[in-house]
C-alpha cells in the first residue's frame, strides 16, 4: 500500500515536471532576446541581406515584429518606435527586391510547367494510335474544319458583344443588359477554350506522327483552279 502511494506520487511529480518543461519550452521558443536597438537593427539588416525569396523576406519581417513587440513590452512605446525607425528603411530596401523575387519565382514556375507539359504531350503522342497516313490527314482536316466553324461562331459572338456594349452605354447601363453582356463574355471565353482544345489535339497528332514515323507530316493542299483570262487585243 505504502509502495503504491509512493509510485503514484512519483508519477504525479513526473507529469507536473513534464507540463512545466513543456510550458517553459514554448515560452523560450517565442521569446526574443533584445540587446540594444542598434545591435538588433544590425542583426535584422544582416538577415534581410541574406533573404533571397519571398518566404525568407516574410520571416525577417516577422522577426522585426517580434523584436518591436519585445521592446514595447520591456521599455515602452518610445524605444519600440526608435527601433522601428532604424529597421524600417532596411526592410523597405529589402521589400524593393520583392518584385525581383516574384519574377524569378514566376519564371521558375513557367520552366517547370513547360518541362512537365512537354513530357506529358510526348507521353500522349507516343501512346496515340495513328492509323494510316490517310487516317491522320483525315483527323487533321476534320479538326481544321471544326476550328474554322468555331472561329466563325466566335466572330459572331464578338460582334454581338461589341454591339451590346454600345447599346448598354446608350441605354444608361441597365442591369439586365449588363447581365447579358456578362453571359456573352463567358460564352466567348468558353468558345476560345474549345478552339484551343481542338488546336491542341491537332498539335498532338502532328507530334505523334513526328515521333512514331520519324518525319514531319506534310499535307499537300489540292491545287486551286486557276482562271485564265484571255487578253483581248
Amino acid at each position: 500500500m505504502k509502495k503504491s502511494r509512493k509510485s503514484r506520487f512519483m508519477l504525479a511529480c513526473g507529469y507536473v515536471a513534464f507540463v512545466v518543461l513543456l510550458l517553459l519550452g514554448t515560452r523560450c521558443e517565442s521569446r526574443v532576446h533584445i540587446t540594444t536597438p542598434e545591435r538588433d537593427a544590425k542583426h535584422i539588416a544582416e538577415m534581410a541581406e541574406l533573404a533571397h525569396s519571398e518566404a525568407e523576406l516574410k520571416a525577417v519581417e516577422k522577426m522585426r515584429a517580434n523584436y518591436e513587440q519585445a521592446y514595447r513590452k520591456s521599455y515602452g512605446g518610445a524605444k519600440a518606435l526608435y527601433f522601428r525607425s532604424l529597421v524600417d528603411p532596411i526592410l523597405d530596401a529589402a521589400g524593393d527586391r520583392r518584385e525581383v523575387y516574384a519574377a524569378e519565382e514566376a519564371y521558375l514556375a513557367a520552366q517547370q510547367g513547360a518541362f512537365s507539359d512537354k513530357l506529358r504531350d510526348m507521353d500522349k503522342a507516343w501512346t496515340m494510335e495513328l492509323g494510316s497516313d490517310a487516317d491522320v490527314v483525315a483527323t487533321i482536316e476534320r479538326n481544321d474544319a471544326t476550328i474554322e466553324a468555331k472561329n466563325a461562331e466566335l466572330a459572331t459572338l464578338i460582334a454581338e458583344n461589341e454591339q451590346l456594349a454600345v447599346d448598354i452605354i446608350e441605354a444608361g447601363y441597365p442591369e439586365d443588359m449588363l447581365n447579358k453582356i456578362g453571359e456573352l463574355e463567358a460564352k466567348i471565353e468558353s468558345k476560345r477554350e474549345e478552339i484551343a482544345d481542338v488546336e491542341y489535339a491537332n498539335e498532338i497528332v502532328r507530334l505523334a506522327y513526328r515521333l512514331q514515323r520519324g518525319e514531319e507530316l506534310v499535307i499537300v493542299e489540292p491545287e486551286a483552279e486557276i482562271e485564265v483570262v484571255e487578253e483581248v487585243m
Partner: protein, 93 residues
C-alpha cells in the same frame, strides 16, 4: 518482446530501403552546376531521339528522376539550369 522488436526493426529497415530506391539519383554537391548542364542535355537528347516507345519511356523516366533530384537536393540556379537546358532540347521536337 524480442520477436516484436525484430519485426519492428525489419519493417523500419524495409521502409527505409524502399524510400532509398525511390530517390535513386544522388547529385554531386561539389559539381552540381556542371552536372546540371551535362545531364539535362544528355537525357533530354535521349528523350527526343528515342526510336521506340520503350526507349522513350526509359529516357523520360530518368530525366524526371534527375529533375526531382535537382529540385529536392540542390534547388536554386543549378535546378533552373537543368530545367532550361532540358526544355531547350525537348522543344526541338
Amino acid at each position: 518482446m524480442k520477436r516484436v522488436m525484430i519485426i519492428v526493426v525489419a519493417a523500419i529497415a524495409s521502409v527505409a530501403c524502399c524510400n532509398r530506391g525511390g530517390e535513386g539519383v544522388v547529385i554531386n554537391e561539389q559539381d552540381h552546376e556542371n552536372m546540371a548542364y551535362d545531364k539535362s542535355y544528355e537525357l533530354a537528347e535521349r528523350v527526343v531521339s528515342a526510336t521506340s516507345y520503350e526507349e522513350y519511356q526509359a529516357a523520360a523516366e530518368e530525366l524526371r528522376a534527375y529533375e526531382e533530384a535537382f529540385r529536392t537536393q540542390i534547388g536554386g540556379t543549378s535546378y533552373l539550369i537543368f530545367l532550361e537546358e532540358s526544355n531547350a532540347v525537348l522543344n526541338q521536337i
